[in-house]
């Protein structure tokens, strides 16, 4: 396999991995209700 193609595949994998790691930060899915795992039942105290 040519070097260029290998670099392209690695680049795609790298971007894919970054996307997988960071996609939750950019997700527009609503977090209302109980959508936040075991931490659904807790929140930061706004008074603190």
């Amino acid at each position: 396999m040519g070097l260029i193609i290998q670099y392209i595949i690695i680049f795609i994998l790298f971007i894919g991995a970054l996307y997988f790691i960071f996609k939750p930060f950019f997700s527009k899915k609503s977090n209302s209700g109980c959508g936040k795992g075991c931490s659904c039942d807790v929140k930061m105290d706004p008074k603190k």
Partner: protein
């Protein structure tokens, strides 16, 4: 036509999961309810020419939710549009606590749910000194009562034969007091199709997530208008039901001496003894701790060796090139980095399942709760905290046993402070470098500092829990309800199923995140922005023309790492780490050890041109690394890079910083939230930075 849903509803500790395992056999899977980490057990059963979809609901004492788990139960039972809404509910009871189960059964029936009653553990009825008049109970409950023993399979066939039946219409025992009639009538207008009791439940709960915002608002207006207090309503219902059932069951259930309870009391006199109880518990913890460290060692070495073999074979078989290198040293090594934790996870969960199954876990909560409560933690938090001293990954996962969401979250957030085994190589190297090898009061000073680092981990965990407890609050008010179940022999099927669920869940869910971070770090470490990376050998030859081949290779590896993206990132963070007494080389170590703390030692070995395979347990190799590090000069200060000030600063940094992507992956999986994962990472790293900064500035 959709497969009929059969849900198992019941109190904790009634053998519901054993019954589920017996019904579904191996046709089951464990996951989470959509979007949340409440464990969902579902499976299938083929009978009567149908495939039944069996769902094991989380254990609950009442239909008034006090936790996320209980909220799920109410949602499934009350919302006809919920995909898990039952076509038939099996309310599972056990003889000793049958009264509570009957209340749950009545609540379910009054919601309009078709339900039948199952008494599990029927073999224990005699040892518990009870007599139940089944015929009278059937008349009272208006359903057939099925008797099972999920451990032996007795009564299961009769139960399955009942699946096609439709229970008769049920009219409840609970008469809603007349004082609530006006409010109830108004609420009925919003929910014309709901049963009266379901409407009462809507009024008596703070929030029902399956209702629309308008419906919630309308309910709130009715509560305000009629000055309804939801806690009073819930208390009133419990009282009315309890009084009625106590009277009603007198001719149905007779209790004599409970032999099993007597045996349990005898054992509890030892296991809950104010002194002996703690000695036994900490003795058991010691055994678990030893097992995680010692028993898993050979297995971990075997996995390590296996992946080293695979790497070697792939290296020989695949053609040279960057893609093969990524596959072998990024992906395969990443998978190896996940699989290696399996022995520890399996051993820990084997012990935890045995403790849970035998009934001892409830005693642990009882013993430890009073000590951990002031820090916002739970008695069960002691298991994750102690096992965190071996490895934070299985430890964070073991926090699943904590029912209260806030206490579970706090435990997960602070467990990585405990001194895990991965910190040990760093501590050994840094202490060896900066702490003199002398004795103080007859004790080895280096050993004392190492002990202090372990203590610091405990202080860090408890102190952080205390702080976080102040700033995190629970959405719903919570109180601890737990019971001390009778002791029983563990059901091995349940134990093995539980261990398998946890191990496969870790491999798949946390593994994905760890693998992705491995790929990113590999790319950053194996590519660079300029010629200095790609023509490193030419640059090294020009700088040091007379090197022998082996030393030349090590110099090239060091030069390449310096000029990789990772190296430049290390240099990029130098302004931030300079106040801590570190130079850019240590910066590279900090970034690469984000993958795992122990990588720091290997990275520093490459940076100092010693090759990447320094074995810290080999005295000769350790000495050459220490000598090289000792002679290293910090370009910023002109002083030795590793002196007392920078060394202590580095120790404190690694004591507190969240330098472990596998832990991050597991926390993400267990909290179901990147928000809390990020808060934890920033909190720990922030604390590490401040502690290291103060130490360096005071000691320099």
């Amino acid at each position: 036509m959709k497969n009929p849903n059969i849900v198992l509803l019941g109190n904790p500790n009634v053998g519901k999961t054993s019954l589920f395992n017996r019904l579904t056999k191996l046709n089951q899977k464990v996951g989470n309810y959509p979007g949340i980490t409440v464990e969902k057990r579902e499976g299938t059963l083929k009978a009567h020419n149908k495939t039944y979809h069996i769902i094991d609901l989380p254990g609950t004492y009442t239909l008034f939710p006090n936790s996320l788990d209980e909220e799920i139960v109410f949602q499934i039972l009350s919302d006809k549009n919920n995909p898990y809404h039952p076509d038939l509910t099996l309310v599972v009871a056990e003889p000793a606590t049958i009264k509570r189960s009957i209340i749950l059964y009545q609540q379910a029936r009054e919601l309009g749910i078709p339900a039948i009653f199952v008494i599990n553990m029927m073999d224990e009825i005699e040892s518990k000194g009870m007599q139940i008049d089944i015929q009278k109970l059937e008349v009272y409950l208006k359903t057939k009562v099925y008797k099972t023993n999920a451990r032996t399979g007795k009564g299961i066939d009769e139960l399955v034969a009942a699946f096609p039946q439709s229970p008769v219409t049920y009219f409840g025992n609970f008469q809603i007091p007349a004082t609530y009639s006006a409010a109830l009538d108004e609420a009925k207008r919003i929910f014309p199709l709901a049963t009266e009791y379901l409407t009462w439940q809507y009024l008596a709960q703070e929030r029902i997530s399956s209702l629309t915002a308008e419906q919630q608002k309308a309910l709130e207006e009715i509560r305000t208008k009629h000055q309804l207090n939801i806690h009073e309503m819930q208390k009133l219902e419990s009282q009315i039901r309890h009084d009625a059932i106590t009277e009603d069951l007198k001719p149905i259930i007779q209790k004599a001496e409970n032999k099993k309870l007597n045996n349990t009391s005898k054992i509890d006199r030892i296991l809950l003894h104010p002194i002996l109880g703690y000695i036994i518990f900490f003795g058991l913890l010691f055994v678990i701790f030893q097992a995680i460290f010692a028993w898993s060692g050979p297995l971990m070495d075997w996995i390590d060796g296996l992946f080293a073999d695979i790497t070697e074979k792939l290296d020989a078989a695949l053609p040279d090139g960057p893609l093969a290198s990524l596959f072998i040293y990024g992906i395969v090594a990443g998978v190896g980095g996940i699989v290696i934790f399996l022995p520890q996870i399996v051993i820990l969960f084997l012990f935890l399942s045995l403790m849970e199954e035998s009934g001892y876990m409830s005693r642990v909560v009882f013993l430890m709760d009073r000590w951990l409560k002031p820090f916002g933690l739970n008695g069960k938090s002691v298991i994750p905290l102690m096992s965190g001293a071996a490895c934070a990954i299985p430890a964070v996962m073991s926090a699943r046993n904590i029912e209260n969401p806030k206490e579970r979250l706090l435990t997960m957030l602070v467990t990585p402070f405990m001194t895990c085994s991965a910190r040990l190589p760093i501590y050994i190297v840094i202490i060896g470098l900066v702490i003199p090898e002398t004795s103080v009061l007859g004790f080895n000073l280096q050993g004392m500092v190492l002990f202090a680092m372990y203590l610091l981990g405990i202080i860090g965990a408890l102190g952080s829990a205390w702080i976080l407890n102040k700033v995190i609050k629970s959405v719903r008010s919570s109180y601890l309800i737990f019971e001390l179940p009778t002791y029983k022999a563990p059901d091995w099927k349940n134990v093995l199923t539980n261990v398998w669920d946890k191990a496969s869940g870790f491999l798949w869910d946390a593994g994905k995140i760890i693998l992705m971070i491995s790929i990113v770090l590999w790319v950053l470490g194996n590519f660079g922005p300029n010629d200095k990376f790609y023509k490193a050998d030419e640059y090294v030859t020009a700088m040091k023309p007379n090197l022998e081949e082996e030393q030349f290779d090590k110099e090239v590896a060091s030069y390449k790492l310096e000029h990789s993206f990772l190296g430049y990132l290390g240099m990029g963070i130098e302004p931030f780490v300079r106040p801590l007494g570190y130079d850019w080389k240590m910066g590279i170590g900090l970034i690469s050890s984000f993958a795992a703390r122990e990588v720091f030692v290997g990275t520093m070995a490459v940076v100092y041109s010693l090759g990447d395979e320094v074995d810290i347990e080999d005295d000769g190799q350790k000495r050459s690394l220490l000598d090289k590090m000792r002679s290293e000069i910090n370009a910023n200060t002109g002083k030795p890079a590793y002196n007392m000030a920078s060394g202590i600063s580095l120790l404190l940094f690694y004591a507190f910083a969240m330098q472990c992507m596998a832990t991050i992956g597991v926390v993400r999986k267990e909290t179901g939230s990147w928000k809390w994962t990020l808060i934890q990472t920033l909190f720990m790293t922030g604390l590490a930075y401040v502690a290291a900064l103060i130490a360096y500035q005071l000691l320099k």
